[in-house]
Symmetry: none
Subunit: 125 residues, 2 copies
């Protein structure tokens, strides 16, 4: 994978990294499952701070393009399957919800406590 950074450009380094990784993906230079270089490795290669690479990786992560895992590395994601029908997605969601209820019940919590725990997690993020 070849990434060219122009430090004098008006385009932020982070954006340059993001776009070029996306390009490598669309040209097939990068394939799903591939491991990306570590933030530090790519950073020294590009003569840039590793936090800058980390930020670029995070952007791509939030788009679901790569998956970064602390302590392990970052990987190209499998491309998500075409959108299922909305009815199916709805069904899947309610299955998830029911499973959540059942599992927390097994741990000895009632429905209200489960709902409260969910609220708490929503706050945290």
């Amino acid at each position: 994978m070849k990434i060219q950074i122009d430090l004098r450009s008006d385009i932020p380094v982070t954006s340059q990294i993001v776009t070029q990784i996306q390009q490598s993906l669309s040209t097939g230079t990068l394939k799903p499952g591939d491991q990306m270089p570590t933030v530090r490795a790519l950073a020294t290669e590009l003569r840039v701070n590793f936090n800058t690479v980390a930020r670029a990786y995070r952007v791509l992560d939030e788009c679901g393009i790569i998956s970064t895992q602390q302590g392990r590395g970052t990987f190209i994601m499998e491309q998500p399957p075409p959108e299922a029908s909305s009815a199916l997605r709805r069904e899947a969601l309610s299955t998830l919800a029911r499973r959540y209820l059942e599992e927390s019940q097994r741990l000895g919590f009632n429905a209200e406590e489960s709902a409260q725990a969910l609220e708490d997690e929503m706050e945290k993020k």
Copy 2:
């Protein structure tokens, strides 16, 4: 014992292991006196470093839920102290909640929709 690890999750692998072992215990899949798989065996099964499993075992050990003995193996304790593990139960619940949020997000639903779906399931009952 079936343990499912999601490497893409924000939840640390160690926590995932702890929570799921506790669940197996609460569902009766694991019983007092049972021998757990060795750290290496479970690690290769989950495709994870065995130190990660060892750390999960240590957490459970410190809560008095399992007993790990160097050179022998690790076993489920006879008397899982109900109140000693209350902090763990709490953590297990929040892990379940986060997991529910993450999985529904992957389906394309936001936090509010996930919460609403949970309410709906609670009504049904």
